[in-house]
Symmetry: D2
Subunit: 115 residues, 4 copies
C-alpha cells in the first residue's frame, strides 16, 4: 500500500469533509434551524473523522484499516441523517458521505488483506 | 519550561473544552436554538483550539507560545459571545474561557521570555 | 451516560496522551534513537487517538463507543510496543496505555449496552 | 470569501501535510535516523497545523486569518529545518512548505482586509 494508492480515498475524505462542514455552516444560517439540530451534530462528527482519516493516511498509520473503517461507519450514518432533509446542502452531503464510505471500505479491506 | 509547568494550563484547556462542548451539545437541544447559532459555532471553535493546545503542550511543541496565544484569542472571543446569553451553560463557558485564556497567555509569555 | 461518567476515562486518556507524547519527545532526544523508531511512531499514533477520544467524550459524540474501542485497540498495541524497551519513559507508557485501554473499553461497553 | 476561494490554499495545505508526513515516515526508516531528529519533530508539527488549517477553512472558521497565519509561520520554520538535509524527502518538503506558507499568507491577508 503506497501513498499513491491512498490518493483517491484522501480526495474522497476531503470532499466529504468539505460537504459536511459546508452543510454545518449552512444549517446554522437557516431560518428553520431547529429542524436541523441532529444534522448539524452529525455533519461535524463526520468532518472530524474525515480530517482524522486524511492525516492517518498521509502518515501511513499502522491503523489505517481500523481508522478508515470507523470513518466509513460514521459517513454512512451521516448520509442516513442527511437523507431526512430537503436542503441542497444536505442532499450534497449524502453523495459525498457515501462516496467517502465506499473509498474508506476499499482501503480498509485492502490493508486488512495485506496484514 | 517542563511538562509540570504546563500542567495548570492543560487543566484549564480541558475544563474550557469541556464547558464549550457541553454548551454546544446543550445549545443544540434548546427550544430557541435559532438564538444560539453564533454561540454553537464559537463553542466548537473554542473546543477545537483547546484540544489542539493540550496536545501541543503534552508534546512540548516548539510552537507552544504561538499556539497558546491563538488559543487565548479564541477563548476571549468565545467568552464575549457567550456573554450575550442567559443560559447556564453559556454563563459557565464564560468563566472557563477566561480562565483558559489567562493560563494560555501565562504560558505564551513565559515561553517567549525563554527564547 | 452523563458527562460525569466520562470523567475517569477522559483523565485516563489525558494521562496516556501525556505519557506517549513525553516518550515521543524523550525518544527523539536519545543517543540510540534508531532502536526506538517504532516506538516513536506508535507513541504519536496513541497520543493522537487519545486526543480524539477526549474531544469525542466532551462533546458527547454519538460514536463514543466506536471511538473509545478504537482508542483501546491502539493503546494496547502501543503498550506492547513500549514493552520491548527498557527506557523509563517507555515503561511509564505501558501502564498509562493499559489503564487508558481499560477505561475506554469500560465506556465502550457501557454505551453499547445503552443503545 | 467563499469556499471556492479557499480551494487553492486547502490544496496547498494538503500537499504540505502529505510531504511532511511522508518525510516523517521516511526519516523514521533511515539508517542515520539520529541526524534527522529535529526534522522528524518539525515534520509532524507542520502536518498537524496543516490538518487544522484545512478543517478550519472547510468550516469557514471565523478565525481563518489567525489560523492560516500560524500555519504559515510553522511552514516557514519547517522549510528552514528541512533545508539542512540532503534527503529527497526533505528537499520535497521545502517546496511544499513554502508554497503552503505563501497560500496561507494570501488567505490571511485577504480575510484581514475584509474584516
Amino acid at each position: 500500500m503506497t501513498r499513491i494508492q491512498y490518493q483517491d480515498c484522501i480526495e474522497a475524505c476531503l470532499k466529504c469533509m468539505n460537504a459536511c462542514n459546508f452543510s454545518y455552516v449552512s444549517s446554522l444560517k437557516e431560518y428553520d434551524l431547529a429542524l436541523l439540530r441532529d444534522c448539524i451534530r452529525m455533519d461535524r462528527e463526520c468532518a472530524d473523522i474525515c480530517a482524522y482519516a486524511i492525516q492517518a493516511m498521509t502518515r501511513q498509520s499502522p491503523f489505517v484499516a481500523e481508522i478508515c473503517r470507523l470513518c466509513a461507519d460514521i459517513c454512512e450514518a451521516t448520509a442516513r441523517e442527511c437523507g431526512r432533509y430537503e436542503q441542497t446542502h444536505c442532499r450534497n452531503c449524502i453523495n459525498a458521505c457515501l462516496e467517502c464510505a465506499r473509498a474508506c471500505r476499499e482501503i480498509s479491506d485492502a490493508v486488512a488483506v495485506m496484514i
